[in-house]
């Protein structure tokens, strides 16, 4: 029964996606997608409520059928990638597709001895991922209703390509559930490749030259990751004779595990767009914004983090793990640096996504129980806040026709609701007491005895605060004389933005219950001692503690005091134009003051080049850590 529920959470979105592809009538299609999304959310809540985890689920009735379907699917998918790569003349994708086909044929037909393994492995981590995929994913898809209509109007797309768009989104949601629930590594590999393909198809959705070029880059880099994952699985099988995740995780004899772990980590780095692979994620920003929010910040890139978290017990306490920590910290710092020079909001968000993923990887590399807890907390809060911010930027772009933060000056007067939500979204990413910062605090505390990692993290954090603070300043700038306009928000867009905002704030407020309910049990599942305890908004270890309520109270008090002060001042205060040394101040004209982008000593190209070299060297070092 329960395994059927899990199977449903994978198959239902996929089947719904295929049906959507054939629904041409807009109202019918939207209705059908709406119902499907509610079912997806409901399923995730039922799974959360009814499953006793951690557990493995067997189901002999359909195992063989699924297994054969997935085997066929593997080959169909790779042949399709080959076909695409010929069509768009992207030979690197061809190369990696062939590179996967050859070992896959050899492995499937000559090496793998068929034996039945458990179908699903579910623990709190899978549940957390499933909740993010289903709830955040559905809210983003809902947002896309409003966004895509406007998008197609703007680009004069006719006939509509929305059936294709939503079909891929739904199939993708199913595939993500497949990645996080599968116990058979070959199944996980298949779903992993499906997400790669969905990403390719969605980046190229607009079918312009630029989108196809960037989609091709995303394809080949992720195919390289897929190849690494396949190699990792094959190595595990040759050494330990199993493709069952639960058996792999209980391996005691760990002498031969590190090399496959390196390949799996490599796959995770490509999926999570770590340096030097960040270029595909930046290129992916040409996709419609819901795609950036769903695949490229809140879910698909988290698959890399998921798989690394999943296997982290196997490399705990090794050199490999330490090197992964250094590598993650380096990516965190390097991409934060790169973000400084950007004024394009989507690129800032893309760099900051890579940066935060790097932070999670650093945390997994540190690999103590509190570090793992911090990584999971960061994963949750980042998914929500970043999705929210991407959607805000999408909304802003459709109104003002620009995604440059310099053009967002005075947005609070032009689009008060969206600007306010963006402001809150940024706060949840950069300011205490919100969940992201609490996780960051925890990471800094656990990293403190690894000097290289912690020094790098400290600088990265300051850089992060820099590029977000000036964005807030731009959003909220204005005077009492600014022209104000009302904002009419599409209903679907509104529901989605409001829900994500509420989710970000409420979850931050309930961080201790969230930790006790989902994160701490996962730490126990991974057989670690729980070092971090939480009660009533107070998270503490033996070496320190973070109280969130005093900060919430302080912010609340500041709101109350300033509102009363503003109300009192409404009659008595003199409302002036900004100081301009006696010159005439003309609203929106006159002078042009821009943020410092430090482009005189940080240019993106040169920095990227050197950072790429360093990161490649670090990956080689990680490989060294795996071999020695």
């Amino acid at each position: 029964m329960q395994s059927n529920l899990l199977l449903l959470s994978i198959l239902f979105p996929m089947v719904a996606g295929i049906i959507v592809f054939f629904l041409r009538q807009p109202s019918v299609r939207k209705g059908f997608i709406g119902v499907s999304l509610s079912v997806i959310v409901l399923l995730s809540l039922i799974i959360l409520g009814s499953l006793k985890v951690p557990d493995v689920f067997n189901s002999p009735t359909y195992y063989n059928g699924m297994d054969i379907a997935i085997k066929i699917g593997d080959f169909v998918l790779l042949l399709y990638v080959l076909y695409i790569s010929f069509k768009i003349k992207e030979w690197r994708a061809t190369f990696f597709a062939v590179l996967q086909l050859v070992p896959l044929i050899y492995f499937e037909f000559f090496m793998l001895k068929e034996e039945e393994v458990a179908v699903f492995l579910v623990d709190e981590l899978s549940i957390i991922m499933n909740l993010i995929i289903s709830i955040v994913g559905s809210l983003i898809a809902l947002y896309a209703f409003g966004y895509m209509d406007h998008h197609e109007e703007e680009k004069h797309v006719s006939p509509t390509r929305q059936p294709r768009f939503f079909a891929i989104i739904l199939v993708f949601l199913g595939a993500m559930n497949g990645v996080v629930f599968s116990n058979n590594l070959m199944w996980m590999y298949f779903f992993w490749e499906v997400t790669t393909l969905s990403s390719f198809l969605l980046i190229g959705h607009d079918q312009t030259e630029e989108t196809i070029k960037n989609a091709a880059r995303a394809l080949w880099i992720n195919m390289m990751g897929g190849f690494a994952l396949l190699l990792g699985i094959i190595f595990i099988y040759t050494n330990y004779n199993t493709v069952s995740l639960v058996d792999v995780l209980s391996i005691k004899e760990s002498a031969y595990i590190l090399l496959p772990m390196f390949f799996i980590a490599f796959a995770a780095f490509t999926k999570s767009a770590q340096m030097p692979f960040q270029s595909w994620l930046l290129g992916a920003m040409v996709a419609p914004t819901p795609v950036s929010a769903l695949l490229h910040s809140s879910t698909m890139v988290k698959a890399g983090i998921y798989i690394l978290l999943r296997f982290s017990p196997l490399f705990r306490g090794t050199m490999l793990s330490d090197f992964i920590a250094v590598y993650g910290a380096f990516t965190f710092l390097a991409t934060a640096f790169l973000a400084i020079s950007q004024s394009n909001a989507k690129r800032i968000l893309a760099y900051s996504t890579v940066s935060n993923l790097g932070l999670m990887i650093a945390s997994i590399g540190i690999n103590t129980s509190s570090a793992i807890a911090a990584a999971i907390l960061l994963l949750i809060f980042h998914a929500i806040s970043k999705a929210l911010l991407f959607l805000c930027v999408g909304t802003i772009e459709q109104h003002i026709g620009s995604r440059d933060i310099e053009d967002m000056k005075g947005l609070i007067n032009k689009m008060p609701i969206t600007a306010a939500i963006t402001f809150i979204g940024i706060l949840t990413l950069m300011a205490a007491p919100f969940g992201m910062l609490v996780s960051k605090w925890l990471i800094l505390e656990v990293a403190a005895n690894q000097i290289a990692v912690s020094v790098v993290l400290a600088i990265g954090s300051a850089l992060t605060a820099l590029y977000y603070t000036r964005w807030i300043g731009n959003l909220l700038s204005g005077t009492y004389f600014s022209k104000r306009s009302e904002e009419h928000m599409n209903v679907n867009i509104g529901i989605s933005l409001y829900s994500l905002t509420v989710l970000a704030i409420v979850l931050s407020f309930m961080i201790s219950s969230l930790y006790n309910m989902l994160v701490m049990p996962q730490i126990l599942t991974m057989k670690m001692d729980v070092a971090l305890k939480a009660a009533k908004g107070y998270l503490y270890t033996t070496s320190g503690g973070f109280m969130i309520y005093p900060i919430f109270i302080t912010i609340g008090l500041a709101i109350v005091l300033s509102l009363t002060s503003i109300r009192k001042a409404a009659k008595t205060a003199v409302k002036v134009s900004p100081y301009n040394a006696g010159l005439n101040y003309i609203e929106d004209k006159g002078f042009d003051v821009k943020n410092y982008y430090l482009t005189t000593f940080v240019t993106e190209e040169t920095l990227t080049k050197y950072f790429n070299y360093i990161s490649i060297a670090l990956i080689v070092v990680i490989l060294g850590g795996a071999i020695l």
């Binding site: 000036r470 300043g473 070496s543 005093p550 205060a573 002036v576 900004p578």
Partner: protein, 283 residues
């Protein structure tokens, strides 16, 4: 619990008086160095009280919120320090207020406050990592971020001599003293016209002055705990650092943003690594 609340209240009540008084001494001493007579020691209090009762002059509503949150988080961080909370958490609380202080100035569209705010961002970039480095170094000696635990180690100064110098540097940047007086020029008739403070005025400027006093006390308190065995000595060390900073203020000229970043980052990374190596060497 009750005891902690009392300590919290006493600390947040006392801090601005000490801060304002030190500010007065600063002005007197600076005047002495420059061969002037200078204002009375209580002048900062007169200034703030006068500002509090001045007419409110506003550019937008967000300024008001920024000023309040800057003050309240500064108060909270002093309170948390007094009840011996987590050092890193205190730094995080402090940085929330700072972000609002800067965003508030950025939001007013005056070129003066814009430039000032951008420079303040750079100053933040220069000293915020140093404070975290300090916390990390302290952890490497004491094994804890909790101030209660940290203060059981009586004479941290011997373990962290270089971090002590860094804290002195942080104090100079934080107080916006030369050569780091980038975001607000100390005197109103310079080219920046008070930079980040340009559009904060009247009662709201007073709030920011009070918040600055709290933040100054916070940094001085961090220096003082380096000699927690006898806090009186700790306080004397902190005051000595403060006076050295005033002297440096008077004998140096303003440098550029680029120089500040290069200087503070290279010094702080180098000092941190050497100091932590030294900690392990001493064992």
């Amino acid at each position: 619990m009750m005891r902690e609340i009392i300590i919290f209240v006493i600390a947040i009540a006392l801090a601005p008086f000490i801060g304002g008084f030190l500010n007065g001494i600063d002005r007197k001493l600076t005047a002495f160095i420059q061969g002037r007579y200078g204002p009375p020691v209580w002048q900062p209090f007169y200034d703030v009280i006068k500002l509090l009762y001045k007419q409110k002059i506003l550019v937008n509503d967000f300024q008001v919120f920024s000023a309040y949150i800057y003050l309240l988080t500064a108060i909270l961080s002093i309170g948390l320090f007094a009840i011996k909370a987590d050092l890193l958490m205190i730094l995080f609380v402090m940085s929330v207020g700072l972000a609002f202080y800067i965003a508030g100035a950025l939001s007013t569209k005056s070129p003066y406050s814009q430039v000032g705010a951008q420079r303040e961002l750079m100053q933040m970039l220069a000293y915020e990592p140093m404070l975290i480095f300090f916390a990390i170094a302290v952890y490497n000696v004491t094994g804890s971020f909790n101030l209660g635990q940290i203060m059981k180690h009586g004479r941290l100064l011997f373990d962290l001599p270089l971090m002590f110098i860094l804290l002195g540097l942080v104090l100079t940047i934080k107080l916006k003293k030369s050569p780091f007086d980038l975001s607000t020029s100390e005197h109103a008739h310079q080219e920046l016209v008070r930079g980040i403070l340009t559009d904060y005025s009247g009662p709201y400027l007073a709030l920011i002055h009070i918040a600055d006093w709290y933040e100054m006390i916070l940094i001085l308190a961090m220096i003082a705990i380096l000699w927690s065995q006898n806090l009186l000595i700790g306080v004397l060390i902190a005051l000595a650092t403060f006076f050295v900073d005033i002297v440096i203020d008077n004998i140096t000229a303003r440098m550029t943003v680029k120089w500040m970043l290069a200087f503070s980052w290279s010094i702080s990374i180098l000092f941190t690594i050497i100091n932590i190596a030294y900690i392990y060497f001493r064992r």
